[in-house]
Point group: C3
Chain length 261, copies 3
């Protein structure tokens, strides 16, 4: 079976730097199936990259190898890390990019990527995605044993992730990301909402904007209405039917969201 390698970067959609990584991977394993997970991570925004990886990487089949490059510290002492999380493999700078994934599923293996024999012979100081991570991923896809990449490492670098606060009649959370439709994805999971009624008696407030009721689909409300629903991410989302909530409301990641009933 042809191995799948996904790429997640902040290079910008259509950047030739993405092609440079694919060139290296295909030079080593011409049979790899390459999938662009996203190259639209805002430049150097490790948190956004971590959220996208946590939501989308687990949807790929077991055995998929994910390479993630949001790497403002390239060329410094920050390490490069291999992690086995669930049944998938990850190669990334050790700067917190894998920390959101690792909250849900503890990595079973973490390796510090230090063995230069699996890298390109000449490593630039500014593009380890091409020179280290791409060749390492390609060799893993050919069956290289991860333990050969370097010594084991106890933990991944962490970022702070705020969980929604659930109390008797209230959940306090926040907008965690904004999708390409301008929908506001919160950190309030479907699980946290299990005891919450769905009807008019529940109020969802984001900044000064309020809506009532939790719906199943966008189409249950008229155009241009603010609506709350549990989206395809499995978390509570706020959307403007037929338009961009982020633009219409001027809301960004970090905005507080409260659910009361």
């Amino acid at each position: 079976m042809r191995p799948i390698i996904t790429l997640t970067t902040d290079f910008g959609t259509g950047s030739p730097y993405v092609a440079a990584m694919k060139a290296v991977i295909l030079s080593i394993n011409p049979e790899a199936t390459l999938v662009d997970l996203s190259h639209a991570i805002p430049p150097q925004d490790i948190r956004s990259g971590a959220l996208v990886l946590a939501e989308f990487a687990p949807q790929f089949p077991p055995g998929t190898i994910h390479v993630a490059v949001v790497d403002p510290g390239v060329g410094t002492s920050r390490g490069i890390v291999y992690a086995r999380i669930g049944q998938q493999d990850f190669v990334a700078p050790d700067n917190g990019l894998l920390s959101r994934l690792a909250i849900r599923t503890l990595p079973s293996t973490i390796i510090s990527v230090t063995q230069r024999e699996f890298w390109l012979p000449d490593v630039s100081a500014t593009f380890h995605g091409r020179d280290i991570m791409a060749p390492v991923a390609a060799r893993l896809s050919l069956g290289l044993e991860p333990s050969r990449l370097g010594p084991p490492q106890a933990e991944l670098a962490q970022l702070e992730w705020t969980e929604a606060l659930v109390s008797a009649n209230k959940i306090e959370g926040a907008v965690e990301s904004v999708d390409s439709f301008g929908n506001l994805i919160t950190n309030i999971s479907a699980g946290a909402l299990a005891r919450v009624p769905r009807g008019e008696e529940v109020a969802i407030v984001c900044d000064e904007h309020e809506t009532r009721g939790i719906f199943k689909t966008y189409a249950e409300q008229p155009q241009m209405t603010l609506i709350a629903l549990v989206g395809s991410s499995g978390n509570l989302e706020l959307a403007i039917v037929g338009d961009s909530a982020a633009v219409m409301l001027g809301v960004r990641a970090g905005a507080p969201v409260t659910v009361t009933w």
Copy 2:
């Protein structure tokens, strides 16, 4: 032979939601060749999606499976449909997205996609592209008989498509879409232009802008000139040589175009 599956969506180029659909397809058929037809359909703009599909899908080889997701009614009673059009297979919401294609070539089979055994086990209310259409397309690519997807259906949902009006010395049409160069693609086909002279005696007017003559290539006129030609779509196009006609003239889809001689 590796089956080709194309994806056309309004998710935005580089959206990770596209990767989510690819993850599902490759989980079921790792040998599928995935091609992005376009993810730049304006959000929820079914007409634009229908035009892009009608122009570009038929250029793919026989046997190609096209998945199209422009789906503002996701989660409502709008159906999901399989259609065999020409020698290709289409899976889409039944909201008119396939209606432009079906004008030129009558579908030989239309199936209402209702058999849940071919979908993902858990179907979200907001992302049927990932949860229904992607797995259905992947199973078709493995040889699943379309008749097993659900019961036959008599017709596809329709949108209204205005044909250009051809009279003795005049054709009345409209700009139907704008390409990425800003060229204005009309609904006036090369066939409708067969009797029309090519020289200075023919006038093409779009909004208040006029040009004379129908040319073969952009390079026949100087930079910054408004030019009419039969483009690669097979329809009459209006272009500004070396620039964007849409931006320079402030013209959008829907603008009237008349050809007189």
Copy 3:
């Protein structure tokens, strides 16, 4: 082994015209591995296309076939050309698009692409990328002998490329391109910098902006600092740490850069 065909165009990332070329290639060779090198070349900007090709194409493995379509003269007498450069094959309009590559490595074969039997049967006047270059590349990937494409040609069309001027205590060059991070890539190569000190005694000036020292990585200086380093392209780059130098300084390709020590 599955042959690699890359595509470089000015169609815009996500353009369905790219999909049209892939449709033609896969119709002829369903086993080809297609890689988007870049579709973000500014419209009709042959120089930018030539620079991207020169930097990124050579990173692909031997035997890769590169198709490049930045073609403002489509449909005129400008030719279409096949060139063997290094161990790779190129198909492009003969308008200078391959001229930057050909400075570093003299083409070993140049063929004027004139034999219509290898093209699509109907050739439009405005989209030779789809109708001529895509099918020619696909047939080459199946083993077609390049000499059958047409007669040999002595030279490729040229653009003028200015080399940096190196003197005793000064190098005079220019910004040649801007990458997706807004970094300014100059025409001053690492080789030209071999004799240049790295410390405070070296001054790099671009327009009226000055910085001192040549660094190894972005992270050696604080955020928002102008920094000079030898980037992954192998050439001197100017960057603003954590931001876009192009936007912050208002600098574009063509701006003069001097290095003095």
